[in-house]
Amino acid sequence: MTQQTARIEFNGAGEAAETRHRTFVATLEDSPGVLNRVSSLVRRRKFNIVSLSVGRTHIHGESRMTLVVDCDADTARQLEAHLRKLICVLDVQDISHEPCLLRDLALVRLRVGARERMEVFQLLEVFQARVIDVQPTSMIIEVTGDPTRIEGLAEVLRPYGIEEMVQCGAVAITTGTSGAAATPIR
């Protein structure tokens, strides 16, 4: 069971009031209903989700969640405390202020014929995106990267005609030798 250490926390002004994207990574029990518990909490307490993604890890029985929310610092503390309270949540870290890598993946079906294909290929190179399927009148593009890069690509592709786009939500990992969330506390 995770425990929060007793701490004194004085509310500073400034940063506390600022609403911005904040990133949490959590280690969860890999069992049925866990995602339901997290999403139920987020809905009931009216936290504003930007993205949520969950997947298995190298450790059997554990999964890892990355949750990006739009909120101020006080709300972030609340969310962290509420997540910690969930029995199925083994560990939570707010990594908004840690050096970390954030990656999202998108697949885009673009309406594009033979004439414009080369032009698009050149654009994709700039974004380090790849084409994974080509049809006479369309192609499917795969791009991974920081969520802002994906937004940027979508912007430049929009004029060609995006038929369909899927995105899986950001996953995050801290950089440096000891990952912030690398060692789940039991």
Binding site: Q4, A6, I8, E9, R77, A81, H82, R84
Partner: protein, 606 residues
Amino acid sequence: MQAKSEAKQQRSAAGDSQPKATSERAGARVVWEVLCEEAVDVIFGYPGGAIMPTYDALPEYPIHHVLVRHEQSAAHMADGYARATGKVGVVLATSGPGATNLVTGITNAMLDSVGIVCITGQVASNLLGSDAFQETDLSGVTLPVTKYNFLATRAEEVAPMLRKAFQLARSGRRGPVLVEITKDAQMGITDYAAPDMSPVVDTQLPPPPSAEATDAILEMLEEAERPLILAGHGIIAAEASVSLREFVDKTGVPVASTLLGLGGLPASHPRALGMLGMHGEAWTNQAVQHADLILAFGMRFDDRVTGKLSTFARRARKVHVDIDAAELNKNVKVELPLQADIGVALEQLNARIAASKGRFTPWRLNAWHEEIEANRRAAQDHSTASEPTDGQLRARDVLRALWEVTAGDATLVTDVGQHQMWAAQCYRLEQPRKLITSGGLGTMGFGLPAGIGARMGRPKGEVWIVAGDGGFQMTAPEMTTAVQEGLDINIAVINNGYLGMVRQWQEMFFEKRYISTPISAPDFVLLAQAHGLKAFRVTSRDEIKPAMEAARAEPGPTLVEFRVEQEDAVYPMVPPGKSIEEMIRRPKDAEGGDDSERSSQNRGER
């Protein structure tokens, strides 16, 4: 009977040998084994198809089952039992309708942080998700109103899940835990071994506060001239009333209590200010608003306590100590939030105060005590001056008399409404766990079943249940349960012919449009007699005490109906959303002839 004592012998035999031998059992028997591990001796329940295998194994175990008349009552009984004893209350019910009937009771326990374990049957695992007969996804239904819930689909899951359920129910911030057990999990055979060690008491206890944290609190206290403690349910849940008293005696800091915190400091203590908030006394709320330091101990700043947030205790620096980190800075932003068990925190504070040799003295706060005392006297003068003199029987008279007759020593269990607030104001509590009332959810119908649960957990002393004519009708069939169990409980029904608290709001905020609040009732005396209770009716002041004494003299369950003034209102009152100093006081001239005339007209609607 024989089987029961055999089971007892088996248990004690098993208790001697270590490590324990493993043997095969059906999941249904494992349920009872785990309850025995947890030293459960009474449970509250109602059978049905999906839980029948478990019921079938009951006679083999030394556990008493109280058959209720509605599953909601079973949850309230377990809740009342838990509040009276500090132990975990246990509920057993079937799937589907039995389980959904529990939901209100579970929610009540959740909102008031009471540790109960609810065990329900569930359809066989191969039928899950098929809308089978009496299949309800109770884990889904109760997800936001339980501390946690489990679904056991195999016999071998029963023991670990139930043990975990008990552990969670009594750890950290307590709460209700649900365990659904499919029919095949109850019937399947599994290995069972009693655990080697008795269960750990609290697995979610936060670490003790650091010296840095306690010193910071004491520094703030030293700088304060008008400090005030707000004591909540946490004081009682953490068994911290002795430590609180020590802290108060050493420092002289006065204490205002939340509804559920009442009894945390004896009402007769000179520093006890009674209840704060919506129906708090005027001088108590004034103290909150004048304080320059608030020490919030084991409470959660409910809106019934704070009134308008932006003006709440606005002159005060604030310290908040609570076991639940998610309560810190939730409603009221504080300077010093500290996640800790309040009992542990108070012990540490007391130790540091003792070591500080004279840094804190009660008389340091003399000026503050005098200010509060002056406000108290002024408020009391107002109350006395505005006390109605028409000789009508009023609910307040009944509750004051009850306090006198029982010497303030009864376990007082209330329902929800005006009578609840009068009980909180008039029945001055000297001990913790003696007031059992539905705070966070405000659940009408809670009183009688919670009182039965409290009685089961506390066989000694008096139990009085105070209910309104409305709420009492919600769970009145449990009178039969009390008779069946031969319980010595006394019920006071405060009959004002109205859903009084709602009527009061209609009077104050909806221009006296009394829509759907006049409520008729059966003849409560006949009803109680039909259930097998001794019953009395009181219609005038001079009958109050004799009727109470007659009820007390009776060894079995009794009911006293008090026909009280119909349009009485609870004062003072902070209108919802208003600042807590904006109290509505009892108008000095509102109870004249005009008013009693209106009452007698309405009496016909009874």
